[in-house]
Symmetry: C2
């Protein structure tokens, strides 16, 4: 247990002030977008539509995996609202609805591509880190 005096020596290592923030309105908007877009279901739907092109409701559900109808509807509606997907309703019976990525959606999908690659490349490393953490905790 060292004294608090040692603190200053640590402190001097980085002394830059908190940098000036950019326009808070834009910042808030970007955070909002990140909050919506960095969502598990959004990412999975994006991914599914990206590699399948066009899918209808139930097909999309199967492509995503274990997602409930409710979440699928909800997420897809939000994505439509944000201009990420295009929803085409064919007025036939029984109903038929097609979903496709808009150019905006495609660009986001491309941006997320790096994250997918990262996840596939580093999952083993994460598992190791978790084990190391658990082991270190016992001691």
């Amino acid at each position: 247990m060292r004294k608090a005096l040692a603190d200053s020596e640590i402190e001097t290592r980085r002394r830059y002030p908190v940098p000036a923030e950019t326009d808070p309105a834009i910042e808030a908007l970007v955070q909002d977008i990140i909050g919506k877009v960095a969502d598990k279901w959004t990412m999975l739907i994006l991914e599914a539509l990206q590699e399948q092109g066009t899918l209808r409701f139930t097909q999309l559900g199967k492509a995503v995996g274990r997602i409930s109808q409710k979440m699928l509807t909800q997420t897809v509606r939000q994505m439509e609202q944000d201009g990420l997907v295009h929803r085409t309703v064919h007025p036939v019976i029984p109903p038929h609805v097609d979903y496709t990525l808009t150019p905006l959606g495609e660009s986001l999908s491309a941006a997320f591509c790096g994250v997918w690659i990262w996840a596939e490349a580093h999952h083993a490393e994460i598992l190791r880190a978790r084990e190391a953490f658990a082991a270190a905790r016992k001691a």
Copy 2:
């Protein structure tokens, strides 16, 4: 209102079966990782540490923006567990804790970089899409 017969003509446009899935265990793990990593707070903390280098608890909180202590602690602990951040405790009084990205964390940050750029580049477009959606809804 057209008849359901028109359906088949729509249907024939894409006729590929759902493609074979990859190893379900890996797939589940990747989805789990995505679920953890594609989190608003994780992304914001990653971003903050990426551009500030090293931060201590309260500094990190300010850098992120409006985050509660609870969420900050919680997220940062999860990130530590997954090997994304390194946490250094200086045993002085009052306490002093430093947070830095690990190489793994830096690589994830780099992967997310594209998403940040995307968000900054397209936020205006999203706003327009939302307005268009709201306008179309009235009609």
